[in-house]
Amino acid sequence: MTPRRTVADREDVLGALMLAPSLGYVILLVGVPFAFAILLSFSDATAGSLHFGWAGLRNYAAILGDPIFLRALKNSAIVTVGSQVLVVVLATAAAQVLRATFRGKRLARFVLLLPWAVPVSLAAIAWTWIFDSTFSVINWTLKATGLMHGWLYWLGDPTLALLAIIIVQAWRIFPFATVIVLAGLSSIPQEIVEAAIVDGAGFWRRLIQVELPLLMPVVAVAVLFGVVYTATDLGVVYILTGGGPANTTHVLPTLAFQRGILGADLGQGAAIAVFLLPFLIVVAVAMLRLARHTEVGAR
């Protein structure tokens, strides 16, 4: 007697069952809140009560007319772009270094990874100490080496504070980008690089005309993740400056937090956070394109 096909054999049923909890979680606890966040931005809800009233575009009008919001929007862009440019430069260079063999390479790799490994908030508090207006070790070093004669009130000056934020973001993200670029470099077939050597291309020509183009998809992935991590980051700015001095270094996440959570104005908080979406949609689309591109492959 041949065994009958039971439920235990039905791949589609098993598949659905095994997928269901994950799908359910994602839909209920991500999808719904996401939709709800958008909805909230059109409401006048506050954290205090369960009241939910329709407010139309009032929240958006309010923030668009608010110079602090506009400044936060600008800051988000500046910090994201500034830090990612730095990251790309640092990561490409660091990947070249880590590709070579040299003594102490394992140790170097370990140290290089530390900024990425440490929790954001702890790194931020360490940097706060480093930038401290009285005890800053950076100031001491700059003064001791004769590179600076005045004094840098890092976290007290709007421009310097923004620069400090960019430095910290670049610092914590470039190890991650380095490892990705490194992996990309090692995925370039050895024979193609050797062919370029035999063809007579020197180090720079090889790098620019052969390796970098082949690295493009990988670098793009690193940049995309970097953009997401920087644009949506709250910890660094919150701990370093709290958005100050005088609301000059707010970025969208911190402002959303201040208005929406601390200020209990859920409607406005949601509206501010919604402005992050354009960043993220661009990223999602770009990643989709990249995924398709790398699947088809440029081999």
Binding site: E11, M18, V97, L113, T134, G269
Partner: protein
């Protein structure tokens, strides 16, 4: 010549990446009078121990602050979230890789993209949800919310991982007479172990690093996690106890760094969607 440039560059990067940690290390063990010297004083070198190192800050951290409690809280949350994530994401990843066919790939990607939705957008509706469930200011809020970050990415990780595991072994088991379900329960686990390991490690690191949700949902000092408590609550009055603060930062960073180093390749595979071999 090229060799010299290489070492110089390597040194530069290592210094840039590492000096904050060295600074953490020094601060944690420096006596206060060696620590709190204005940086305008050029005669005092802050980079070295001018007075012998001390364990005072560490003792303060472990004995007079809530730090041990935060470690405990963090561990509780980690274990709970790891269990939930493994239980939910591993079967889902398996399903998407083996059972669901072509639209499984699209669905998997869709799930992955929810990972990109930032906490700073979702915390607004979440705060309402948490208060509705009376979970505010509790670890339960974190245990409920953290999987929203880990499940999408880990499902994708397992799915990508399984694509590189040849499925002949499972096929062979089916030919040998096991039902599909039996294959899943008996044969597959051994194959997925490395993937499960990566899921556990990723979840562990994510919980340890998470700050935004903790900041949003937790307000009592004794309920905080390490990532939240250290920067926010290690303040007495208006005074930052930098020594203790840096000691805490150091103790938390080291295990994470070790773990990250060991698992970096796997993570990269996950991030680059397997397009690049780690």
């Amino acid at each position: 010549m090229k060799r010299v440039a290489l070492y110089a560059a390597a040194l530069g990067f290592v210094l840039f990446a590492g000096f904050p940690f060295y600074w953490m290390l020094i601060t944690a063990f420096k006596q206060n009078r060696d620590l709190y010297v204005g940086a305008t004083d050029l005669s005092h070198i802050p980079w070295i121990f001018n007075d012998p190192p001390t364990l005072d800050h560490v003792k303060l951290l472990l004995g007079q602050t809530e730090f041990p409690r935060w470690v405990l809280n963090t561990l509780v949350v980690v274990v709970a979230v790891v269990v939930i994530t493994v239980a939910v994401a591993v079967p889902a990843g398996y399903s998407l890789a083996r059972l669901v066919g072509r639209w499984g790939e699209r669905l998997g990607m869709g799930i992955f993209f929810t990972y990109l939705i930032p906490p700073t957008l979702l915390f607004v509706p979440f705060s309402r949800l948490i208060s509705l469930l009376h979970l505010q200011d509790s670890l339960g809020a974190l245990i409920l919310i953290y999987p929203t970050m880990t499940i999408p990415f880990c499902t994708w990780l397992v799915m990508g991982f399984l694509r590189s595991v040849p499925w002949e072994i499972e096929e062979q088991a089916m030919i040998d007479g096991l039902s599909r379900l039996a294959v899943i329960l008996k044969v597959a686990p051994r194959l997925i172990v490395p993937g499960i390991l990566t899921v556990i490690v990723f979840t562990f690191t994510l919980v340890l690093q998470e700050f935004v949700y903790a900041l949003t949902f937790i307000s009592s000092v004794d309920k905080m996690t390490v990532s939240l408590g250290v920067p926010i609550a290690l303040v007495r009055g208006d005074v930052y106890h930098w020594g203790a603060l840096m000691a805490a930062a150091l103790f938390t960073s080291i295990p994470l760094a070790i773990v990250y180093n060991a698992f970096m390749d796997r993570f990269i595979q996950g991030f680059t969607m397997g397009a690049v071999k780690g």
